[in-house]
Amino acid sequence: MVVSMDFLRPASLAEALELKAANPDAVPIAGGTDVMVELNFDKRRPAALLDLGRVPELATWRAENGRVRLGATVPYTRIVDELGDVLPGLAMAARTVGSPQIRNRAGVGGNLGSASPAGDAHPPLLATGADVEVASTRGTRTVPIGEFFLGPKRSALAADELVTAVLVPVAAGPQQFAKVGTRNAMVIAVCSFGLALDTTRRTVGTGIGSAGPVPLRAAAAEDFAAEVLPWDEPAANTLTDDTAKEFGELVAAAARPIDDVRGSAAYRRHALAVLARRTLRWAWQDVSGR
């Protein structure tokens, strides 16, 4: 009666893709942040687990064409230690993931693969306009992050595909990430917010976590901020309270939160407005060199 579960351990990306093509129900596992919780609670019983821990191609990052190609299993600890300068928003988010043990094992690929609205990596990827690289034996394609999330825990990933990397533009300005949880460490987001300013192109990117069926961008807030920020006079005091407040309200308006066990919809909207206001101010202080 024991339902056996295969544990597939490819040693290369090519082998991993072949195994995934042959076993489309196999659930990829790297850090196990989400997968192990579902297994432990008996909410999921896949026929096979596909362990990506031995696939060297997934565990590296490199800079290419103004972007960082970040392998799906590069652990959050390395993102914090090695990418804080070029991907500051993602590094800040990485610092809030789980516990030290989880950060030593888990990477961005798992966040994307499970496509939870609460994934900590998602807001900075949205804010920076990253692309998700997915691969199968049919080939490799990239999916813009804004098109990757289709619904709660549903993504654009086909059954035979694996997330192999994210392509994240190197920061062209200050970035921020902030997350609300009801304890001061090791907590799933009640809501979170990522912000990326591009001082060259004079654009603003946003990402909202845990406040909608999917991670969201706040397009109206982005357009508003890009329009009204005094890019030509980047002194700290040139960001007015009214601008920060309006930005916060537009971010809150873009959220589609629900009441759940972690917090109320009303609180999430309120908190997002505060986070957006504060992070915009911090980012602008960085633009102005403080």
């Binding site: 609670f41 809030t96 609300v180 009801t182 001061n184 009640v190 986070l275 504060r278």
Partner: protein, 759 residues
């Protein structure tokens, strides 16, 4: 058995009463090598699993175990009709079925059990048992449950859904006061959140009985209830303590004990049951959620004139220890204050919510949150400082409690408050900020914006030991003999080591009383008499008292054999002046001295049912806290910056262990203040996991400056006072008061959630 359960622990490195010897199990636990009950193993053992009700209230119209029995690898599938003895158990009165018969009264109630050759086979087979439920409307509000028209959940209970109503009537029934403050407070359902889930191993014996290796708090209470359910005499149900991964009250009630024994006796094979984390949330009782309505009256000068209180404790589906919890909340409900007129009505109630029972603080926690919130309100109404109004009314030795009981040992409440008040304040956060020192931590929610500091105080009173006339005793067997040319003492009790350090303390007492270095602590089991429960802050007092008394008898026998001497020290018989008279090894020779002593603390009395009068508590214990918090008032996030505590422990038997208890108890109080709550909606638990039931991490628990006072209680062994519970009482109201001070919000509910702060 191929793996040790509870090893005989030989404490090394010396250590008498007042020392802090290293725990014999400490390194094993830190290295992950300690054998907990979930690590038990036996050749050919089967695994048990439990089918539980998904409904908080339903009638069982039919049960079909056929599909489960058909699963290959399954050895037995048992239901209520297979319970060999009486299908009822309970700590105070038996009202809880071992397996539900015609009705289920809470979500998670056990309905059927399965033994199989693999744990997963057992779980999957259990899921195949067909249960035909007629879902009934659950009774989920305790006050609604008390109404005359509420469905009665236990038809045999003469008082409907009322488990117990305790009345305290003290002084003038209609007092008048210059200043009156009132409030309604609520306390959410806290979980003990021990880390080692319920687990044990039942091994069938040749005599038709069973040996049960289990993590529990009270072996003999388990034995009594298990034997009754199995229809066996107690001597054929032998219990052995397995490694306990935390308790805090949650192991006082039975969980898998009877189930494993039933499956073992039916299959003739050893059966192990280990709950998963989610199942564990349904496998033990929780802290009673409470609604508490208080009115305090005082003179203009700040002297308390009266306290009126109505408290409703939601006991959930079964009684467990609700009656005793109700007694505690009522008798301690006015707090550590001199109040001439007290009127308390405290109700423990049946509902279809998860059963609630023992948890560290045991009724005194809920009351303390309410009366301390009231004291702050009174201070504000009087224009006095929170500490001054408490000090002015603080009990002291000789004060009369609302039960009429005179406090007959030290009660340094005013001193405890002054100690925490006079501590230097921690510095305010300043730029450049370390995120870890701000509310929200590394989640980067503030760089100082919106952060407001608040300070709050709390003080509480807890009874030590079992109260209200309970025959509270412990048994110790102490043996002194020569082993390998050295005198060795062995100590055998049935007292459960649940992490508190009794294993060390028993050896310290034996060394102190018998003057030997080598002490062997034998594994607790039911081959020695009951030690009572490892709860109510009582084991150092009661089992400590029993070990000392047994040592004293052994010593007297040795001295009689020596024909001379006044004491034992350094392995010698010595005179009153300390002169060596004989060598203990020679006096003992080949003939060990062994004594078994049943030791009782002085008796307590039942409460008068109409007035609540009586000498109900053997000892009172007090702790005070000052909490300093930083609150992000815009986001409602809290960081407790410092939690100072002062506590009188009578005698610090093991100073390191005392500090550990104060830190741990305070952390559990912090959890209740700002995060810990089992959320129950319509009788259904919404967060049965550590993903969403949050307990404090190392980044949530601040540094704790601690003052330990040692005012000996002349009635207690070595003058000691129970330590484990008082810090759990006062840290919660101190922290919530500090959050109120920072935010100006009323905050009448614990735990405080961010929504309550940003409103």
């Amino acid at each position: 058995m191929s793996r040790a359960t509870t090893e005989s622990l030989t404490a090394t490195g010396g250590g008498r009463v007042g020392d802090s010897p290293q725990r014999p199990d400490g390194n094993l636990k830190v290295r992950g090598e300690f054998a907990y009950s979930s690590d038990l193993w036996h050749e050919d053992m089967l695994w048990g699993a439990t089918l539980r009700s998904p409904h908080p209230h339903a009638r069982i119209r039919g049960l079909d175990v056929g599909p489960a029995l058909a699963v290959p690898g399954v050895y037995a599938v048992l239901t209520h009709s297979d319970v060999p003895g009486e299908n009822l158990y309970g700590l105070e009165h038996p009202d809880q079925p071992v397996l539900a018969g015609d009705v289920v009264r809470y979500q998670g109630e056990p309905v059927a059990i399965v033994a199989a050759d693999h744990p997963e086979t057992a779980r999957r087979a259990a899921a195949r048992v067909r249960v035909d439920y007629e879902v009934l409307e659950p009774v989920t509000d305790a006050e609604t449950a008390l109404r005359a028209d509420a469905p009665v959940l236990h038809p045999t209970n003469p008082d409907g859904n009322l488990v117990r109503h305790v009345r305290i009537r003290h002084g003038d029934p209609a007092p008048a006061a210059d200043v009156v403050v009132s409030g309604e407070y609520t306390v959410g359902m806290q979980d003990q959140a021990f880390l080692g889930p319920e687990s044990g191993l039942a091994v069938p014996a040749e005599d038709g009985g069973v040996d049960l290796y289990v993590a529990t708090q009270w072996l003999h209470a388990d034995q009594r209830q298990v034997a009754r359910a199995l229809g066996l005499p107690a001597e054929r149900v032998r219990l052995h303590l397995a490694g306990v991964g935390g308790a805090f009250g949650a192991r006082e009630d039975l969980s898998m004990q009877v189930h494993a024994c039933m499956l073992a006796l039916r299959t003739g094979k050893p059966v192990k049951i280990v709950y998963g984390r989610e199942e564990s949330f349904f496998g033990h009782v929780h802290r009673h959620p409470a609604v508490l309505r208080y009115e305090h009256g005082a003179t203009r000068d700040g002297d308390l004139v009266y306290v009126r209180a109505e408290m409703i404790l939601d006991g959930g589906a079964y009684a467990s220890t609700t009656a005793a919890v109700t007694g505690n909340a009522a008798t301690l409900g006015a707090g550590p204050y001199r109040v001439p007129n007290v009127h308390v009505d405290c109700y423990g109630v049946y509902t279809n919510n998860p059963p609630c029972g023992a948890m560290r603080g045991f009724g005194a926690v809920q009351a303390c949150f309410a009366y301390e919130s009231q004291m702050d309100k009174l201070a504000a109404a009087l224009g006095m400082s929170e500490v001054d109004v408490r000090v002015r009314n603080a009990v002291e030795q000789g004060s009369v409690m609302p039960t009429g009981q005179v406090v007959d040992s030290a009660a340094p409440v005013a001193e405890l408050l002054a100690l925490v008040r006079d501590r230097p304040m921690p510095p305010a956060p300043s730029a450049p900020y370390d995120l870890r020192e701000l509310p929200g931590g590394v989640s980067n929610t503030t760089h100082g914006e919106g952060v407001v500091r608040g300070v709050g105080y709390g003080v509480g009173v807890k009874n030590v030991g079992f109260s209200e006339g309970f025959d509270d005793y412990s048994t110790a067997r102490v043996r002194l003999e020569v082993v390998g040319g050295e005198p060795v003492a062995s100590v055998h009790t049935a007292a459960a080591e649940v992490g508190q350090g009794l294993v060390t303390l028993k050896a310290q007492i034996a060394r102190t009383e018998l003057g030997v270095e080598r002490v062997v602590i034998l594994p607790p089991d039911t081959s020695v008499g009951s030690a009572g429960s490892s709860s109510a802050s009582r084991q150092s007092y009661v089992t400590g008292g029993a070990v000392r008394a047994a040592c004293e008898e052994v010593r007297a026998a040795v001295l009689a054999r020596a024909g001379a001497g006044a004491g034992l020290a350094g392995g010698k018989v010595v005179s009153a002046g300390g002169d060596v008279l004989a060598d203990l090894v020679e006096v003992l020779g080949g003939e060990p001295v062994e004594r078994t002593v049943e030791w009782r603390h002085r008796p307590t009395e039942a409460l008068d049912p109409s007035t609540g009068k009586g000498f109900a508590h053997v000892q009172y214990a007090f702790a005070a806290h000052r909490a300093v918090v930083d609150v992000d008032v815009e986001l409602g996030l809290v960081r407790v910056v410092e939690l100072a505590c002062a506590q009188d422990v009578g005698r610090a038997m093991n100073p390191d262990a005392v500090l550990g208890q104060i830190q741990g108890g305070s952390a559990q109080g912090l959890g209740l203040a700002v995060m810990e709550e089992i959320q129950v909606v319509d009788g259904v638990v919404r967060n049965p996991s550590f993903t969403d039931y949050l307990i404090p991490t190392v980044l949530d628990m601040p540094t704790m400056p601690i003052d330990v006072l040692e005012y000996a209680d002349p009635h207690a062994p070595y003058g000691l006072r129970g330590v484990g519970e008082p810090p759990t009482l006062s840290s919660t109201p101190a922290i919530v008061a500090a959050i109120r001070a920072a935010t100006g919000r009323a905050l009448t509910r614990a735990p405080v959630r961010p929504e309550h702060i940003v409103g």
